[in-house]
């Protein structure tokens, strides 16, 4: 099967606001062929950043969402049977290596540990992908880049990244943007007015205060944007915050009650 790299090209510029020096760091890593690890809570812009980087560096972006049934052949490729004939199909990783694109493995901790080992030879200075079944070794071109994302917030012992994997990457830390930036992002993404966006940001901050005090995670920028979008569509502010922010964050009635009280105190 032939792969057209155009299929994976970003055509429009994705909206992305830089939080720190991550764009420069990424460029330097790319230049030096160091794979990158994007760390940060959910909804803090990791995936959007990758899209933006792919657009900026004009490379195709191949994203794989990892899950615990992801096998090595899902990544590398496998033989399929077609009319009594066998047909080799490249997996996303092999495809990305061949076209010299960005391969982005989203939520890598979700993948099985034996699967993550496949990326090891690609992630050090060898930059090769052995395809055992075909007895082939793919050498990654200079344009190829491997990126992983990982949410340390899960802090699950069962789902921690192995040191041998970790220590091959350059890590870019993502966190929630500061007030002004987050307001700007919400306004841009939802076209809500600035005053409401600011209040949403305040509410977001308050929920982040409750992290580990009953909430597993504070509201992400993504959730705040959802609420803003609901408000723009004519939903009441309190209802929008409830449905888009409080309810996704918690199932606990008391905690939901407390969040609702905070909303009513802020708006």
């Amino acid at each position: 099967m032939t792969v057209k790299s155009e299929d994976y090209m970003m055509e429009e510029e994705p909206y992305y606001r830089s939080v720190g020096d991550e764009i420069d760091l990424f460029a330097a890593a790319y230049l030096n062929r160091i794979p990158v690890l994007l760390k940060g809570p959910t909804g803090s812009g990791k995936t959007r950043f990758m899209q933006y980087m792919a657009w900026l560096h004009k490379r195709p972006l191949i994203t794989v969402s990892c899950h615990d049934d992801l096998t090595a052949s899902d990544l590398v490729g496998r033989y399929l049977v077609k009319g009594g004939e066998t047909l080799w199909v490249d997996g996303p990783l092999a495809r990305a290596v061949k076209v010299g694109g960005f391969c982005y493995l989203d939520e890598i901790v979700e993948a099985r540990k034996d699967t993550t080992v496949v990326i090891h030879p690609l992630a050090d200075d060898r930059r090769i992908l052995p395809i055992e079944k075909r007895g082939e070794v793919l050498k990654a071109p200079a344009e190829f880049l491997l990126a992983l994302s990982y949410n340390p917030g899960y802090q699950s012992v069962l789902k921690d990244l192995k040191q041998s994997t970790r220590q091959r990457f350059l890590a870019l830390e993502f966190s929630y943007p500061n007030r002004e930036l987050e307001t700007e992002i919400i306004v841009h993404e939802s076209r809500v007015n600035e005053e409401i966006a600011e209040r949403l940001v305040t509410f977001g901050e308050k929920t982040r205060n409750l992290k580990d005090r009953g909430l597993a995670e504070g509201a992400s920028t993504r959730l705040l944007i959802h609420a803003a979008q609901l408000i723009v569509s004519g939903i009441g502010q309190a209802e929008a915050c409830g449905a888009a922010i409080s309810a996704p964050l918690t199932d606990d009635a008391e905690m939901y009650g407390a969040l609702s009280e905070i909303v009513s105190s802020l708006f």
């Binding site: 929920t207 005090r213 105190s265």
Partner: protein, 749 residues
């Protein structure tokens, strides 16, 4: 309502109408009276009608005045309490006649007297505590606890609120009052009302002492209560802008409420001088006006109040406070404190106490650091010449230096230590001496031995255990006697309260622990198993066609990885755990029990304390064979600090208990707050060595001990006593409940 009731009401109305007409009342006046009665809650109407009828036999004027009072009572009391009050009045009329009745009912003019009739219905703090605590923690971003107290105040770490709120019949409004209370208390913390800058405090305290705080300022006032109330109101005026900016939604809702509170407040002319001053200020806070003129002496301050709103620091508040206070004190009459509704009160003594405790904690922490410093590995004597410096010079740390020289020892500083030393610009001598003293042993004296025999008198049947004597490098045979008891059950609903407090967190915790349970896992691509792995077969088939050797792992197997863990928690119940430590230990146990209940690991909880070797008490809270029942919960509530910490025998007895349990992994978690110490010679090195030895014994017997220590002092001996990897130190006791579950999770996966 039933027909019979309707009929009765009809009869009452008729009777009343006849009586009123007999008293030459006009028709429209009578209609007004009936309208008035109709405005009451339906359940009260019949009683009010009956009362009015009885009164109308005497005079219709009584009816009018009584109705006005009932209205007032209803305004202040809840429905149930009004009913109670009314019944009381009616009984009085029936039994003692009209005069006592009039006397009783006219008491309704005094709001405070009426409040006594307020029953216990209303909104209880307990029922909303988890929600309120999460609310204020979210808003403030501080780990503020909400605790029940007599009035609303804060010591800057916890916010105390009254147990019951029944100012309104609607629970929503009662909750709003609670919310306002908690928010106002937070504003005291956020606007540093209670901990003004050092400069401000020093400016207003006459007698300069060590560590002056807000309590020192208020101790100077003769009329302390007057000054404190003034300060509460003034600070509320100052912090209003802050609250409006932070919580616009809440403050909007408050406007209504403030108006209704204002309506309830008394007329200034009915109050004595100072009381009128404070009351007037409060009314000004509520609505920007006062009922009646303020005493002339303080009128001048009003323009200044406007400026106070923009004031950034408490300095302006104190200036104004002194102005008003001095003006107010010129007016004669005693100050009678009136409730300031949701503004609450300030308890400067509590703030002061908390600040003191914090200082002590810091100092202890500091001592611990120095201890660590002294026991830190010596660096290469790179700078030999510096050893010759005088002692005072040695204690100084030059900026940017990573080394500290103490008595010729060159010690490398880690970042934490450096920070502290730089902050203090050197190490105070006193602490240095104290630090090096820690861990010193003391010899056994004959007096000690005699005394311990006396204590043991009358006790038999203890379980004997050996004790390790490091000096003779051998065991003292049957040296200690361990007595097992059950913890006396406590009656406080401690477990329920903790569950309430940690409501949402416990949900998360259970989830986390359930994840450890290891659901039966489907293993793909196995050599043998229960079912065929279709994916693998397809792949093997295609490999075969492609001319490769096909894989042989074509089966799916379901793997049940069962946990087989028994854990014993051993709790330090020594006297030193009194207060927060004991509280945190108990909370930790509740959370742990919840988590383990979800996980299904077999667990036991024991506590230990005692005094001397002949009286080592070992308390059962939950045995391995017991279920987590109401009895266990009561025992957890009943855990109390006792005497000393003789760790060796308690550990050895725990080993015996753990060995009797069937399990693949035996875990032994010790919770303590410091180093082992008993009343007799069991201290210092001896105690540390014995504890160390007993832990080694545990490991020899295949038990995994792990120690959690809440201790800031003297960390130096810990690695030696517990073994490098087998302990953790928690510096903030309040984090214990969260940490312990995390530690357990880490240990057992």
């Amino acid at each position: 309502m039933s027909d019979a009731a309707d009929k009765r009401i009809g009869q009452l109305r008729e009777g009343l109408e006849i009586n009123l007409k007999l008293d030459f009342m006009e028709d429209d006046e009578i209609r007004d009276i009936f309208d008035e009665i109709a405005s009451f809650d339906p359940s009260l109407r019949q009683k009010i009608l009956a009362l009015s009828l009885s009164l109308s036999h005497a005079s219709s004027s009584f009816v009018l005045s009584t109705l006005a009072r009932i209205k007032k009572a209803r305004h202040i009391l809840s429905l149930k309490s009004t009913e109670k009050w009314l019944t009381n009045a009616f009984d009085l009329l029936d039994s003692k006649g009209i005069d006592p009745f009039i006397k009783f009912i006219s008491k309704a003019d005094d709001t405070e007297a009426l409040r006594k009739y307020q029953g216990t219905e209303g909104l209880s703090l307990q029922s909303i505590l988890p929600r309120l605590e999460a609310y204020i923690q979210g808003i403030s971003g501080l780990g503020l606890k909400v605790v029940q107290g007599k009035t609303a105040y804060t010591d800057t770490a916890a916010i105390y609120l009254p147990a019951l709120m029944n100012l309104y019949t609607a629970q929503d409004e009662n909750f709003l009052i609670y919310k306002l209370m908690v928010v106002h208390q937070w504003s005291r913390i956020a606007c540093s009302s209670l901990v003004p800058e050092d400069g401000i405090v020093r400016a207003f305290v006459k007698k300069q002492r060590n560590h002056p705080d807000i309590d020192s300022i208020f101790r100077n006032f003769q009329e302390r209560e007057f000054a404190q109330d003034l300060y509460v109101i003034l600070e509320s005026i100052r912090s209003r802008e802050f609250l409006v900016a932070e919580l616009p939604g809440l403050m909007r809702k408050t406007d209504e409420l403030e108006k209704s509170v204002f309506e309830e407040r008394p007329h200034l002319e009915s109050l004595s001088g100072k009381t009128a001053v404070a009351e007037g200020l409060f009314q000004y806070y509520l609505c920007g006006k006062t009922k009646g003129p303020m005493p002339a002496e303080v009128k001048v301050i009003f323009p200044k109040l406007k400026a106070l709103r923009q004031a950034k620091s408490t300095s302006s508040t104190f200036e104004l406070l002194f102005d008003i206070y001095h003006a107010g004190c010129c007016i004669t009459g005693k100050y009678e404190a009136r409730d300031l509704s949701f503004l609450g009160t300030i308890r400067t003594d509590k703030v002061s106490k908390f600040l003191r405790a914090k200082r002590t904690e810091k100092k202890k922490n500091y001592e611990g650091m120095i201890n660590r410093l002294l026991s830190a590995p010596e660096m290469e004597n790179r700078k030999k010449s510096s050893a010759a410096k005088t002692e005072t010079e040695e204690r100084e740390l030059k900026p940017d230096e990573k080394y500290l020289v103490i008595k010729g020892k060159i010690i490398e500083l880690d970042s934490e230590l450096r920070e502290i030393v730089e902050e203090r610009q050197g190490i105070p001598g006193g602490i240095l001496v104290k630090g090096s003293d820690l861990g010193a042993g003391s010899p056994v004296t004959l007096a000690d031995l005699v005394a311990e025999e006396e204590i043991a008198e009358g006790r038999t049947g203890g379980i004997p255990y050996d004790e390790w004597d490091y000096k003779r490098s051998g065991y003292k045979k049957h040296w200690c006697s361990v007595y097992e008891h059950d913890v006396y059950p406590g009656h406080e609903p401690f477990v329920e309260m903790t569950l309430g407090r940690y409501g949402a967190y416990i949900g998360l915790l259970r989830n986390k622990f359930e994840m450890l349970k290891r659901e039966p896992k489907i293993l793909r691509r196995q050599k043998d198993g229960d079912d065929i792995d279709i994916d693998a077969v397809v792949e093997a088939f295609s490999d075969m066609l492609a001319g490769l050797s096909p894989a042989e792992d074509l089966f799916i197997r379901i793997d049940r990885q069962e946990r087989n863990i028994a854990v014993l928690f051993l709790l330090d119940m020594s006297g030193s755990t009194k207060g927060w430590v004991n509280e945190a230990e108990k909370e930790a146990l509740v959370l742990m029990s919840e988590a383990l209940q979800a996980l299904g690991d077999s667990y036991a909880i024991y506590g230990f304390s005692g005094m001397t070797r002949t009286k080592c008490d070992y308390y059962r809270i939950k045995g391995f064979d017991e279920n987590y029942s109401a009895t266990i919960k009561k025992r957890i509530a009943g855990i109390e600090p006792k005497d000393y910490t003789r760790m060796g025998p308690a550990i050895r007895h725990s080993i015996t208990l753990l060995q009797s349990v069937e399990a693949r992994t035996r875990l032994f978690i010790i919770l303590s707050d410091g180093k082992p110490e008993d009343w007799d010679a069991y201290k210092g090195e001896y105690a540390i060595e014995d504890t160390r030895k007993s832990l080694i014994e545990a490991r020899e017997k295949g038990i995994h001990p792990f120690c959690i220590t809440i201790d800031k002092e003297a960390r130096s001996y810990l690695p030696h006593m517990y073994g490098e990897a087998n302990y953790t130190v928690i510096d903030d006791v309040r984090k214990l409940p969260d940490k312990i579950t995390e530690i357990y999770r880490r240990l057992t996966t």
